[in-house]
Symmetry: C2
């Protein structure tokens, strides 16, 4: 079956024509132009849908859209997406169905990453898994018995806001001490700099003392690759925190397969090794059986593949 | 429909004849005699089932048994229940079906408390809720869309082992800093005593300095009722920790109704008030809508009512 997947971001709208067996048939990206307001952006999304539709040979089963903001349980409505001026509560699915004559469904990005992994990525091998997206923020999606677990309002799996230290550092979230406050890109960098600044003989100090704000997790990884013990230590500490958060997810959900993706996840074993070690230490014994952390290598394609899978998942196909 | 509910405890076996509409028709308790070994105990359970069956006028739909230990996903088998000498991995459901000619199902106590509350208690009003049992340990059960959420192996909702402080106090669990390390009866008492011993002028010091091990949460409640500021403060701190744990459950599950039961929960608003306050502070804004903490007053009946509901729930009735 052929569907359209759209990933609505603050800067770009990514679109793809998706075959439910073969994956991406055709993909492209256009600018969001969010500063031109709500109607303009919705028009751009409709354009993207038409662009994908024009490339299709047969019928389109439906459209899935990954969007920021709070999504309604029925997958129609987006509320106050950050960085989208002029948006309040918009029934995106209905507006787009009128414009395109296709069935449209909306969900959040992390859920769609999980769905994409489940149908096209490393998640295919698991009936149930927990997706953790490690990027600017920390997001999550839960696949349970091959379906998204969505909670009561569709807002489940806010995994970045699971608290691991009651008195831990602040992030932009009211959930102070949440795992995002350690692993979110900017927070990881900030916490790393607090240590690096004390080590004036370290190459990382030399590189970033002029402008610490430039420090990104990728720089820690590069230094770790060169054998920089401080960089390895900083990534290890971050990984251990992630391991604690995983213990919490597993003890609540009894799902022992963890799929990680996103920019920070590219730190690979520097973070995931210590996460695995810590989790295996703190998990209740029965939960250690079959516990596994794997990396999703689909990258951003997972989101658009998940978006394209949404009309099928929604209709239990 | 009429079923039998059994609550297999280390000291007593509680049994009841349950009407799915009316609740408990008849109930009783016999000694477990766990020290006499596995076969004896299973025989005692079979006796309890026969005692209940003898009181029934019509047909029995099935039997549900609440048991300690790890329960298999298919609800037949119990592994290594603590304080049951001689038990390893026992297919309790099959053995009891042979002995009683009734369909038998096993699940853990906290799950059955949740099910009992959902069908006969305060949980009836909620399609989805999180049950927290505050007793010797801290347990949990998750009702999602009127069914138990059970995870991949049936072990979901180990809510006492959700970590809120990575470097928090030890309990008997590998999940150091888990909420059980603060709220489990003996841990709450131990943490309270650490403060009380510094306050030699406090009535609690006078009462328990001879034998601090006698201090139980109920004593804190009695003192709080008399206006003892230290007792109120100690319960408040425990409640705030519980609030943090609730934030974690809600952010993972997107279920905003919390039902608490068990001995420690009888501290009521001394604990639940501060828990509610803390949760409302740390929850992401959208999750504060409809967030509610309520108390299950069925007491231990919830477990046996849940056990009696198990054959129906298992068969989607």
């Amino acid at each position: 079956m052929v569907t359209i997947g759209i990933d609505l971001g603050g800067t770009n709208i990514k679109g793809a024509l998706i075959d439910s067996k073969l994956g991406i048939l055709y993909s492209f990206s256009i600018e969001t132009e969010a500063d031109q307001g709500k109607d303009h952006v919705i028009g751009r999304v409709a354009e993207a849908i038409q662009m994908a539709k024009a490339k299709a040979e047969g019928e389109i089963y439906g459209v899935g859209i990954g969007s920021p903001g709070v999504i309604s349980y029925d997958r129609t409505t987006v509320s106050v997406p950050p960085n989208f001026p002029g948006w309040e509560k918009e029934n995106l699915a209905e507006i787009l169905r009128e414009k395109t004559e296709l069935d449209c469904f909306v969900d959040n990005d992390a859920n769609l990453m999980a769905l994409g992994s489940s149908r096209f990525g490393i998640g295919k091998q698991f009936d149930s898994f927990i997706m953790i997206t490690l990027g600017t923020g920390v997001g999550g999606g839960i696949i349970y018995q091959r379906k998204l677990y969505r909670g009561v309002t569709g807002g489940a799996a806010e995994l970045g806001h699971v608290i691991i230290d009651t008195n831990g550092p602040d992030s932009l979230s009211p959930a102070r001490g949440g795992i995002e406050a350690y692993l979110g890109q900017r927070f990881l960098s900030r916490l790393a700099w607090e240590e690096i600044r004390k080590r004036t003989d370290n190459p990382l100090y030399e590189q970033f003392s002029g402008d610490p704000a430039r420090l990104e997790p990728v720089h820690l990884v590069r230094e770790a690759d060169k054998g920089n013990a401080l960089a390895i230590e900083l990534l290890r500490k971050a990984g251990e925190k992630l391991g604690i958060a995983m213990v919490n997810y597993v003890h609540v959900l009894d799902i022992r397969k963890i799929v990680v993706s996103g920019g920070v996840a590219k730190a690979g074993e520097y973070i995931l090794g210590p996460a695995r070690e810590m989790a295996m230490k703190r998990l209740l014994e029965p939960f250690r059986t079959d516990f596994e952390i794997v990396y999703e290598s689909l990258g951003n394609d997972a989101a658009v593949l998940g978006a394209g899978s949404l009309p099928l998942e929604h209709n239990n196909i």
